[in-house]
C-alpha cells in the first residue's frame, strides 16, 4: 500500500505547486469584479432590484442556451423552487442519488416530500439508469399515470439527476426512462456550469435545472444560484415565487401565494457578471489541468483520474481520483497524507441514506454508491493552477 500512496503523492506533486498549501478549489478574481461591485455601490441598488441581476440572468441564459435563467440566493433554494415547479408536494417521493451533497435531499424535504435513494455508476458517478429501470419495473406500478412505490404506496413524482463534480449524467436513456415511468426531471446542475451533454448545456434537459455559484464553484457570486428553464410560463412562475409572489401594483401590496425571499441581491449579481465574462477562459484552464492529471495518472497502478464520457464535454469542476477497487484504508491514508502535506483533498459525502434524518427513507440497493464512497477522492482543481 505504501508504494501506491507514494506514487500518488509524487504524481500530484509533479502537477501542483510546492512550498505552499494548495486548496481544493479557490475562486479566481482577475476581471471586472471590483469595477462592477463598486459601480453597484455607486448606483445604490445593491439589493433585490438592479440592472446586474437582469444582466447576469441574460448572460447565464445566453451561455447555457437556456430560454430563461432566474438568479437565486443559492443553489439549494434554486433546487427547492425547481422541485415545486415539478409538482412535487407533501407526501410524494423523489428519486435522488444517495451519492450527492446533502442539499439535493434537503430540497426534497423542504417540499415535504421524501427522498428515495438510487444507486450510482462508476463511469460518470451519476444515477445507474439500467439498474434503476429494473428496480422501477419490480418495485413500482403506474396507476392513473402516476408512478406508485408498491412498498410505501406513495407517488414517485420526480427524479433529480446530479451531474456530479461536473460530469453529465447520460441523459438520453434517462429521458426515455422518465417518459416510460411518468417522472418529472429536475436537474441538479449545481456542479456542472460549463458541462455539456451531446452539445447541449446541462440544466436544460428537465423541466428546471438548478445552478450554484457558491464560493467553491467554477464561478462564484459569494452565495448564489439560478434556475434554468425553457418554458416561459414556468419561468414566470419561478420569478414570481422567488420574489415573495407579489402581484405587481405600485400602490398596493398583494401576494397571491406563499412565496419565498429567494432573489439574488444585485451586488452578488455584479460579482457574477464579472465572473461569467471569464467563464470560457476558466473552462479552458480547467480542461488543461484535467488533461494533465489524467495523463500523469495514466501509468499509475491502482488509481486513475476520471475522464469525461464520450457523449460529454466536462467542466472538470472537481477532478476526481478513483481507486481501481474500494479500499477504505488506502483512501484514508491518501486523504491524510495529502492534507498533511498541504494538498487539500476530500472524500465524497457520507451516503445520504446513512444520515440520521434520511436513514428510514426508501432506497434501492446501493452497491456501487457504497463502493464509490471507498474509491473516490477529489483533488485540487483551482483555475490558478494553470497560468
Amino acid at each position: 500500500m505504501k508504494k501506491i500512496v507514494d506514487n500518488i503523492i509524487e504524481t500530484l506533486l509533479e502537477i501542483l505547486p510546492s512550498g505552499k498549501p494548495v486548496p481544493l478549489h479557490e475562486p479566481f478574481f482577475q476581471g471586472n469584479e471590483k469595477k462592477y461591485i463598486n459601480d453597484c455601490i455607486d448606483s445604490r441598488f445593491v439589493s433585490s432590484i438592479g440592472r446586474y441581476v437582469t444582466k447576469f440572468e441574460n448572460m447565464l441564459a445566453e451561455f447555457t442556451g437556456s430560454k430563461h435563467a432566474i438568479a437565486s440566493v443559492n443553489g439549494t433554494c434554486a433546487l427547492h423552487i425547481s422541485l415545486l415547479m415539478g409538482g412535487v408536494k407533501n407526501g410524494d417521493e423523489v428519486l435522488v442519488p444517495a451519492l450527492t451533497f446533502v442539499a439535493t435531499a434537503n430540497a426534497v424535504t423542504y417540499c415535504n416530500a421524501i427522498p428515495h435513494f438510487v444507486d450510482s455508476n462508476p463511469v460518470n458517478l451519476g444515477i445507474d439508469i439500467k439498474k434503476l429501470e429494473r428496480y422501477l419495473q419490480q418495485d413500482t406500478e403506474t396507476i392513473n399515470k402516476t408512478l406508485i412505490n408498491k412498498k410505501t404506496q406513495r407517488p414517485i413524482r420526480a427524479i433529480v439527476p446530479v451531474h456530479l463534480f461536473g460530469t453529465p449524467v447520460d441523459m438520453d436513456p434517462l429521458e426515455k426512462l422518465c417518459r416510460r415511468f411518468n417522472l418529472a426531471i429536475i436537474e441538479d446542475a449545481a456542479e456542472s456550469l460549463g458541462s455539456y451533454y451531446k452539445g447541449r448545456h446541462t440544466g436544460n434537459f428537465g423541466l428546471c435545472g438548478a445552478l450554484s455559484f457558491n464560493g467553491n464553484k467554477t464561478i462564484t457570486t459569494g452565495g448564489g444560484g439560478a434556475i434554468l428553464c425553457n418554458n416561459s410560463t414556468i419561468a414566470k412562475k419561478v420569478k414570481h415565487l422567488t420574489t415573495t409572489a407579489r402581484v405587481n401594483n405600485k400602490l398596493n401590496y398583494f401576494h397571491d401565494q406563499t412565496g419565498f425571499n429567494y432573489r439574488m441581491p444585485n451586488i452578488n449579481a455584479a460579482l457574477g457578471c464579472a465572473q461569467i465574462e471569464q467563464l470560457p477562459e476558466f473552462l479552458k484552464k480547467k480542461r488543461k489541468l484535467a488533461q494533465k492529471y489524467i495523463k500523469a495518472f495514466d501509468g499509475i497502478k491502482g488509481a486513475s483520474v476520471l475522464n469525461e464520457p464520450d457523449y460529454a464535454k466536462n467542466n472538470f469542476w472537481l477532478n476526481t481520483l478513483v481507486l481501481d477497487k474500494p479500499d477504505r484504508e488506502l483512501l484514508q491514508t491518501i486523504l491524510e497524507r495529502t492534507n498533511n502535506t498541504g494538498i487539500q483533498t476530500r472524500p465524497v459525502w457520507t451516503l445520504l441514506n446513512k444520515l440520521p434524518m434520511y436513514k428510514k427513507c426508501p432506497s434501492m440497493s446501493l452497491t456501487c454508491a457504497k463502493a464509490l464512497k471507498d474509491r473516490v477522492i477529489n483533488i485540487p482543481s483551482s483555475i490558478n493552477l494553470i497560468d
Copy 2:
C-alpha cells in the same frame, strides 16, 4: 378634502428637497463599503466562510446587546429559523399580526404551521395586547401546559410581535401575557434595528429575534438578516441549522439533521461591517428627520406623524403619516398626489387575512388593523434627507 391634501403635500414639500424624485428609503454608502468589499475580493473569501461574517456578527451582538448574533441570507430566513427554535412545528398555530409584511406569515408556513391573526393598536401599530388577552381567555384553553385553540383544537405555540416601521411593541405586558398562556415569543425585529424598549434593544426579548438588512432597511448588506439570541445552546443550534447542519470534521461530510443553506456570504457581511460602523450616525439623522416631520405636522388638520411611545426609543425606520380617521378615498388621493409629484409614499400592506393563501386561517376580530389600513401612509425616510 382637497384642502387637507393640499396642506399635507405642502408640509411634506417644506421638509423634502424639490425638483427631483424623493424615494421612500434609499441606502447610504459613505463609509468603508468599497474598502471592505475590495479587501474581501482580495482575500478570495467571498462565500460562506470569512472574517467579515464573524466581524459583522460580533458588531451586531455588541450594538444590540445580544449575547449572540448569527448572520443569515435574509430576514425571512432568520424568522423561519427563529420559529423552529421556538418549537413551532407541523400543525401548530402561531399568533401574528394581520398588519405586517407577508414574510411574517410565510415564515410560519415554512414550519408547516398556521398563522393565526391578531389585531393591532393605533399607538404603536403593533399587537393590541389587551384585546388579545380577552380573546385568549375566551377562545383558548390550556391543556398540559399547551395553549389550545378551542375552535381548531390545534396548539398555539408562539407569538410574533412585529416592531412595525421601527416602533417597539409594549413588551412588558406582552411578556406577562405570554407567561400566563405558555406562548414562546419570537420577535420580528426586521424593521427595528436601533429601536429600544425601556433601554433594551428590540430582538432581545423573545427566545430569538430576526433582523433584516434588505436594501430598504436602516442598514443594508444587499440581502441579509440575522438571528439575535441570548441563550448559548440555542445560538449554537441556530448556527448549525443555518449552515446545512454539518457536523464538523474536515475529512468527513456528515450532517445530523435537515439543515438549511441560510448563511450570509462574506461579501455581503463586508458591506454590513461598513454599514454598521455608520449606524449611530444614521440613527441620529433619522431621529432628526422624524422630529422635523412630527413638528411640521403638529398643526395640520386631519393627520399627524407617528411619534415614539414613552417607553421606547425608535429608529424611525419609516416615518408614518396617520390620518385622524380611516378614509380610503383621502388616503388614495394623498398616495396618488405624492407619487405623481415625485414624493414616494406607500400604503400599508393588504391585511394578511385578505390574501388568498391565508384567508381561511384563524383570526380574532381585526377592527383596528382594518381601520389602520385606511389611515396609514409611509413617507420618505432616507438618511440623506438630513443635510
